[in-house]
Symmetry: C2
Subunit: 159 residues, 2 copies
């Protein structure tokens, strides 16, 4: 007997890492297009915007931590945002290696206009789910977020 699909214990479409990668990617692109067209910003900007709105002034390093982006990506987005007048960038005089980011008035105004849109998009997305599924999703994502980070740091489960 030759190889057939019956022998395979793993179907791509059921494989959680695949599902998560595809869903995450599709969402990123769709939402990025929305933000781009309507507000002229990209995903990194969006993340920084929301993070500063939540926490107030932060160093670039702290922003990177809280947005799950690396420092290079934050640095690039930071410049674009400063050019657009959305954030202020100052050197921390207590530790001159650090740069402190904070929203400007214009940044706050963007937050206020973009948040309702983002919420609608999020709600629409989750609209396919039952209430209970939505609650599970949040719990599951928190757990997987850590697990995936661990996987990244360790470079796989094999070592």
């Amino acid at each position: 007997m030759t190889n057939t699909s019956k022998d395979l214990p793993l179907r791509l479409s059921e494989f959680a890492p695949y599902q998560l990668a595809v869903v995450g990617n599709r969402l990123s692109h769709a939402i990025a297009a929305l933000y781009e067209q309507k507000y002229n910003i990209q995903i990194p900007e969006w993340r920084i915007l929301m993070t500063l709105a939540e926490w107030g002034q932060l160093s670039a390093h702290e922003v990177a931590d809280r947005t799950s982006m690396d420092r290079a990506r934050v640095s690039r987005a930071q410049r674009r945002m400063a050019d657009l007048g959305l954030i202020s960038v100052t050197i921390d005089e207590l530790d001159r290696r650090k740069t402190l980011l904070d929203l400007t008035q214009k940044g706050w105004e963007l937050v206020e206009s973009i948040v309702p849109d983002a919420e609608r998009t999020g709600d629409w997305l989750l609209g396919v789910l039952e209430q209970q599924e939505r609650e599970y999703l949040n719990v599951i994502m928190k757990k997987l977020m850590e697990r995936a980070e661990e996987l990244r740091k360790r470079g796989g489960i094999l070592e």
Copy 2:
């Protein structure tokens, strides 16, 4: 009163599209590194491999559909795989626009060695979840997969 985080109804870390993007991305990278080191292939190759293993000979177009990749990406991976001798590529004589892909013996051997590894990784990842959460995850992902695709096709929910 000045703006504070209390006013904000949306926390990035609770925002499902953000969570999904980050988890998906971290997983992709971690797993890509694993496949790369150990088997010398990348994510697109992995997806094609598993798809052909499940379905047998398919056209490049069908592969693209079933792997959630665009045709350019499939086309590139296809060439790499053919160079490695993992797949055979033939022109469909009934419709000469199509190219048909199929696993070679060598491709099947790779499938057999890589699948147990992938399963272990998948199981380890889901190991943080309760049994019931795992079941929910699968259902939720199927629903979100479609929803995200719809979002992509429509270019946002606003139109």
